[in-house]
Symmetry: C2
Subunit: 130 residues, 2 copies
DNA sequence: ACCTCATTTGCGAACTATTCGCAAAAATCC
DNA sequence: GGATTTTTGCGAATAGTTCGCAAATGAGGT
């Protein structure tokens, strides 16, 4: 049955390079615009399909923004960490904080709640934007 | 100019009662279905408008779910707290943890990052679902 | 380089969630 | 109850995302 190959194509390389070049959560539309700006014409459908694929592979993290529009960013899922997001420029900095992990662990017994995951996001202004 | 009154109407009461009865994040569509199930016929438009209004008043919290669909829950914004969300039933329990606040505060100097807010969500199984 | 075949792409249509405009209905106040 | 303002319902419009299918492209063998 379905032998599933994994072709290397221009659109996929282009999309990956857009994602690789900025530490920000980008919407499909923003990525599409970024591609146009570089002269790479790729359909929006392909952008969406490629993002789905990258997410399935675990190469990117998806996150609906405040308005519900889904945004994506390159992000190693293996190393567990959290994000600090600049309210001004959107730059995302990784926060790899052992103490925080430890703290989250200590909440397992919380309210009879069997904790199996958590998400933490910090907001503020990054060094450059202050 | 626009004297802005604030009428008390059936639809608004019904919608509020739907929200009041369950400690879960509900989408506009789910609220609309809940209304139908109770025999209250209210248009989806009104559900959206009422939710916008409640959010503006600060009575409810909005949160896009994993798929980007926006969900709403009654939630006092005054008392700062976080949420523990059951993966099985969606029940939300408030986590009012002073120690966590304190911890978040201690991160203000993080990476030259001027911290002005944060969001924390815990996931797991609530007591009833275990 | 060429052929074959599976995979991927682009396009436009379809879908879903949400918003908007406007006339009819309901709430408030006197 | 009547006048006035707000709210509602409806259907159309919009925005983000998904889907179907024919044409284009990548991979591998010759």
């Amino acid at each position: 049955m379905g032998i599933r190959a994994d072709y290397v194509t221009r659109p996929r390389e282009w999309i990956a390079s857009i994602l690789a070049r900025e530490p920000r959560f980008l919407s499909a539309a923003q990525i599409h615009q970024g591609l146009e700006r570089v002269g790479a014409r790729v359909s929006l459908s392909t952008v969406y399909r490629t993002l789905d694929r990258l997410q399935a592979k675990g190469d990117i993290t998806a996150r609906p923004d405040a308005d519900g529009e889904v945004t994506y960013m390159l992000c190693e899922p293996s190393r567990h960490h959290h994000h600090a997001i600049c309210r001004a420029c959107g730059r995302v900095e990784d926060v790899d904080c052992a103490a925080m992990e430890q703290f989250a662990e200590s909440l397992r017994a919380l309210n009879g709640f069997e904790l199996d995951g958590h998400a933490i996001e910090f907001f503020g202004k990054c060094g450059a934007c202050r």
